[in-house]
């Protein structure tokens, strides 16, 4: 069943076509990677899927709802309810502790629950660093907190933009293992990356070049 469907999406900035008539779909429970060199439009696509931007042309159906026509306000609501975002830059609120950063996400969704937040941190292996400020955490730790934040509200879809781009190998493995766990639990994962190894962890990879879908690669070795 299709969770996300992009129909003839174009994003045009003046002369530049960041996305040119892209169509794709992602089923519920799938783990999809979107790959491409820089300038290929993957960040733009990420923004559109993540309800942080609107396409110039085309439709975006998320769970049956055409989010390309929604107002900014309801986009926020949709984003909050259905999507968990993980950015390349570890965007944390720098005056809140790790657990508080996770609780912020809860706060806007339903209710802050410190216990649940601590459990989420536990899942990413950062229970002991709960009271630390971002300035006291390493890059890898910050990214893991962001992962915890993204999944605290049990979103249907997790959208990650270069989640391991700035991490060392150890941390990268932790994150990928976590993704595997989430996938097992039924979460849909869309991971945007330029790293083939990260793409290989997914079930299917969509390759973008110059704003168009170049090809799709099914990962034969998935699950092994």
């Amino acid at each position: 069943m299709s969770l996300l469907e992009l129909k003839n999406i174009s994003k045009i900035y003046g002369e530049l076509k960041a996305l040119d008539n892209v169509s794709l779909h992602v089923d519920q429970g799938e783990w999809v990677a979107i790959m491409g060199p820089s300038g290929s439009g993957k960040s733009t696509m990420m923004n559109i899927i993540g309800c942080m931007d609107k396409p110039t042309m085309g439709e975006v159906l998320l769970d049956g709802i055409d989010i390309s026509r929604e107002s900014s306000k309801s986009l926020t609501d949709i984003r909050r309810d259905k999507i968990g975002l993980i950015f390349q830059q570890f965007h944390m609120v720098n005056y809140l502790t790790a657990v508080e950063n996770v609780m912020v996400s809860q706060y806007y969704h339903s209710m802050p629950d410190e216990k649940e937040a601590l459990e989420a941190l536990e899942r990413v292996g950062l229970r002991e660093r709960a009271r630390h400020l971002p300035s006291q955490l390493s890059g890898g730790e910050q990214q893991r907190v962001c992962v915890a934040r993204a999944l605290i509200n049990h979103p249907e879809l997790i959208l990650a933009d270069e989640p391991t781009g700035n991490l060392d190998e150890a941390n990268e493995n932790i994150v990928l293992d976590l993704f595997a766990q989430l996938h097992k639990e039924g979460t849909t994962l869309i991971v945007v990356t330029h790293d083939p190894e990260v793409a290989d962890a997914a079930q299917r990879t969509i390759v973008l070049e110059h704003g168009k879908v170049a090809r799709e690669v099914i990962n034969e070795n998935f699950g092994k």
């Binding site: 944390m92 720098n94 971002p134 300035s135 890059g139 910050q142």
Partner: protein, 477 residues
């Protein structure tokens, strides 16, 4: 499409510029006001009236023609008014009352006595008077009433002694009661030996056929020539036949003769009340008339005092007073202590007030500008880190940011200098009703101070920013 960072950058510049502009406006505005307040406020104090008096020196006579020479000592721009006064007693015989009358120049009076309140108007033609309220109430005068005023010449204290008057080349006048109670008047001119050179007799009140002849009888008159006073009838001179009493009167008049006034007779003139004066002070007991009318009554152009209202600081006033006293043998000037003393003390406080206020406001504003500049520059830490990572040297970064800060200081300083001056002008016109003195140094000073403050407040944050490890800055928040 404006991206967030571009928007931030432009508004950052604007914010910094606005902050410096405000600071410069306040600096320029307040300093201009402070520098000019003493002059502006000082002019207000002229509403208290004359602050300098010019008086004749001992034995000298002050006349209206001397005025021009006296006033040369004071710059035109600072002389608000110069009002001459002659005080005499005038009688209103119809009411058996006698008053102090002041002869003056009504065009100057409002300038040296701005607090005068006149019901009706100041006299502007001859034979008109301004009457003090007390007199008007007591006598029952209204605007338009008429009255008769009489001047009785009296001996002035310095010439109270006839002997003292008998100087070489002197002109003397005397009077004595003659036949039937009528007055006989004589006027004498003395030669260089103080002997009588010529004389005139006025015996109109005497019997025309007898005593009245004294004025024309040549033999009678000739006997006086060459003789020195005092004279005795029967010894130095002979009586006119048939007019002994008159002759006695003539001799008495001559012995009693003192320094001549132009006329020796009482003068009575009719006046109309042009206005009634209220002041709450002693002026309400006076009658004011023009100097011309005063001359007509008294026959003399003499003045008792000239009141001056001069807009200048206390020490400058003293200098003017000294200059007037030194440059003249006839007059001396002194300050009206009551007015100058009080003015100096109050003005000093007001100036101190404006000074302190200016200081406090400036201080706070400058700190405010600094904090804003610091905030704005700190915000660019990331940018600085990036540049360092790209290879820029510390000194080039410092130079660039400092340069930007100074440029903003220049721009803001110019804006502020102009706006501040405009503000000072608005204040000056609305509060004091006059323009502010233009300060040529103001604009350059405002600009320099702005640039200085902008530069200094940039220094600290830049120093911090440059010291930070670029990797840290680039990594994240």
């Amino acid at each position: 499409m404006i991206t967030a960072s571009l928007l931030r950058r432009r508004s950052r510049m604007l914010i910094a510029l606005l902050s410096i502009g405000i600071g410069a406006t306040i600096l320029a505005g307040l300093v201009t006001i402070y520098v000019d307040v003493p002059r502006q406020m000082g002019a207000q104090f002229r509403s208290y009236g004359a602050n300098m008096l010019v008086l004749p020196q001992e034995g000298a006579v002050l006349k209206r023609d001397h005025l021009a020479g006296i006033l040369e000592n004071i710059p035109q721009t600072e002389l608000i008014g110069a009002t001459p006064y002659r005080y005499v007693r005038l009688d209103m015989t119809s009411r058996q009352q006698s008053f102090t009358a002041a002869g003056t120049d009504f065009s100057q009076v409002p300038r040296t006595s701005p607090y005068f309140s006149v019901e009706g108007s100041y006299p502007d033609s001859t034979r008109e008077v301004l009457v003090g309220k007390n007199i008007a109430d007591t006598i029952g005068l209204k605007v338009g009433s008429t009255m008769e005023l009489t001047y009785q010449p009296t001996a002035s204290p310095e010439t109270a002694d006839p002997e003292k008057s008998r100087l070489p080349d002197a002109e003397l006048a005397g009077s004595a009661e003659g036949f039937g109670g009528g007055m006989v008047y004589v006027s004498i001119k003395l030669d260089e030996h103080s002997a009588i050179a010529s004389l005139k007799i006025d015996a109109d009140t005497q019997t025309p056929e007898y005593g009245g002849r004294a004025a024309e009888d040549e033999a009678f008159l000739k006997q006086f020539i060459g003789k020195t006073l005092p004279l005795t009838l029967g010894e130095n001179v002979d009586a006119l036949s048939g007019a002994t009493v008159t002759s006695e009167a003539v001799v008495r008049a001559m012995n009693d003769a003192r320094k001549a006034e132009k006329t020796v007779r009482p003068q009575t003139l009719n006046f109309t009340v042009a206005g009634i004066l209220t002041t709450g002070g002693e002026e309400e007991d006076y009658i004011f008339l023009s100097l011309e009318d005063m001359e007509a009554l008294t026959g003399s152009e003499q003045l008792d005092v000239v009141e001056l209202s001069v807009s200048a600081a206390a020490d400058q006033l003293e200098a003017y007073a000294d200059a007037i006293s030194q440059n003249s043998d006839t007059v001396r000037a002194r300050l009206v202590k009551r007015v100058t003393r009080s003015e100096a003390s109050v003005l000093e406080k007001l100036t101190a007030l404006v000074f302190l206020v200016t200081l406090v406001v400036l201080l706070l504003t400058m700190i405010c500008v600094s904090t804003t500049m610091m905030a704005v520059v700190s915000e660019r830490r990331r940018e600085i880190g990036l540049r360092k990572a790209l290879g820029a040297s510390d000194s080039s970064i410092r130079a660039e940011f400092l340069g930007e800060g100074i440029f903003l200081g220049l721009l803001g300083g110019v804006m502020g200098g102009v706006l501040g001056f405009v503000f000072a002008q608005v204040v000056s016109v609305n509060v004091f009703g006059s323009s502010i003195t233009f300060q040529p140094l103001l604009l350059p000073v405002a600009v320099i101070v702005s640039m200085l403050i902008a530069a200094l407040s940039c220094l600290l944050p830049i120093k911090h920013a440059v010291a930070i490890d670029p990797a840290l800055v680039l990594k994240g928040e």
